[in-house]
Symmetry: C2
Subunit: 343 residues, 2 copies
Amino acid sequence: MMSRERPIRVDCLQYANWSEKVFRQMREGGVDGVHVTIAYHENFRETVQNIEQWNRWFERYPNLIFLGRTGDDLTLARETNRTAIFFGFQNPSPIEDDIGLIEVLHTLGARFMQLSYNNQSLLATGCYEAQDPGITRMGRQVIKEMNRVGLVVDMSHSAERSTLEAIEISERPIAITHANPSFWHPALRNKSNDLLRALGQSGGMLGFSVYPHHLNDGSDCTLESFCQMIAKTAELMGLERIGIGTDLCQDQPDSVVEWMRVGRWTKEIDYGEGSKNSPGFPEMPVWFQDNRDFNTIESGLLAVGFSSNEVARIMGENWRTFFDQSFGPADRQINMLDRTAAE
Amino acid sequence: MMSRERPIRVDCLQYANWSEKVFRQMREGGVDGVHVTIAYHENFRETVQNIEQWNRWFERYPNLIFLGRTGDDLTLARETNRTAIFFGFQNPSPIEDDIGLIEVLHTLGARFMQLSYNNQSLLATGCYEAQDPGITRMGRQVIKEMNRVGLVVDMSHSAERSTLEAIEISERPIAITHANPSFWHPALRNKSNDLLRALGQSGGMLGFSVYPHHLNDGSDCTLESFCQMIAKTAELMGLERIGIGTDLCQDQPDSVVEWMRVGRWTKEIDYGEGSKNSPGFPEMPVWFQDNRDFNTIESGLLAVGFSSNEVARIMGENWRTFFDQSFGPADRQINMLDRTAAE
């Protein structure tokens, strides 16, 4: 039996080729909660089909996984030795042009939605666009509705101005679930110090990515370098504002990274973070191959000087607090208020 | 302040032209729960659009209505002086040909689904078809899945053989939310004694309709005749197996009854229960015009000799018990079992 006192462990972004093997590895790695991507470019109906697929997995592997809806489900996961699965979208395509779908998809389990993925969306600008005009008219309405129902604004793939505006406009803290600071590795997907400082000051969260294109030295990045970067970011943002979001794309064929980058928006190939010579998924660092390697990251953090309490926060307790505060409706009090009024 | 000891009052079928006026009348009539039709012939996406419309009403009138999900929500409604709204479909069109949509729509609030509406469906036969071959191959699979997630099989508009087979195949009690016995008024939509006896013996429920085409003497039906019919049906089925399902279609234009009957399945007009000379909605009986008239039905039931405890059961307590037993997953115990296994 696992101790109930063990700290909560969360990975705030994965997009694996899901299988019993992967779910079992989550258990071996002691991962209580995973934010999984269920849509890249899917429209509403296609996203519902992906939810149906997840429902089949929940039905088939009830002893390994279940749908996570609240921060409390992380505790339930720990107590029942399972992993809580939290749904998210890398793109607002699932809501199409219909703001009413935000509440519908939240009811179906969605807890994170990126306002843009690399390109301009109806809501915000992606990090690969040449110009970033900021949050759009619909974007402002959508942020307000996401705040109301408890769907977290995720700006992982968005451009800088749009992200700063989202931090400003959103009345609840936002997240960058999977990215790293550009001071460490200046990729377009990584984030500036100004942005990270604003994110931290607003109560938002950054999840550190292990995806090689976001790492200094790519696939050859050392665990020590990764953990030292985390230490520097903790100084910049605050220790309470950081967690893990590996961006693990385990067992995926290269056709999937092409779908992520190209979707249906172009007839030409867009290599995104890759290149013509290496168009596929990059090789993961030796120290993080799959869900069983979270203990390795934990050891790395202890080795660069974090206390065990600090490590517990980074490995999941910070996300637990954020989930607690973010996934419920903005006004939880309505029933109680009405109850009072009725008496 | 209303006493918390007042019995629960439920109407198990309405399809009004919803408005603040109607929601206020529900409060005036002391109706704690209403099963509302949110789809006649709508496909999945159109049904979701109707759910979005309801979400706007819930947001706009939080002091009058809220989405009902469990039997407990009837108690919450009574305690907070609001009406719990339970979603249902008169046709399986919202699940299209996709069994995975059953769980998705249950998560979004659906609690009743008719397997057919007048015509043959993918699942069962409607009461206006000449032949009734019974529950189809897909129908058997759908009943099993509805049983699993807690979506009630409703056979109000289905044909006799299909209904008897549904009672037999379903592992949980089914409902006929709005119809009357044909011994009282032999309409195609009303039900035979054999069928009602089988329904009662299986633990199912019948909701008595006040829709004139289902009434002896139509719009001229007397309250006394209606209540005497209820007394006879109680003898046939058991007092615990009956409730109210008025089929109130308040404030609807006649274009709506045409949509109900014709949908998109024919280019010709089908008059359904109406006729060429009276194609529109029939006039409701003088003693039941809208939600404020439930006290009148209650008085009528007392007048034909029911005790006040029996009246309370018919007016809603029976539905409360049925809701309690029907809306949750077949296996509520999974978390507790897993919790035990983990220890």
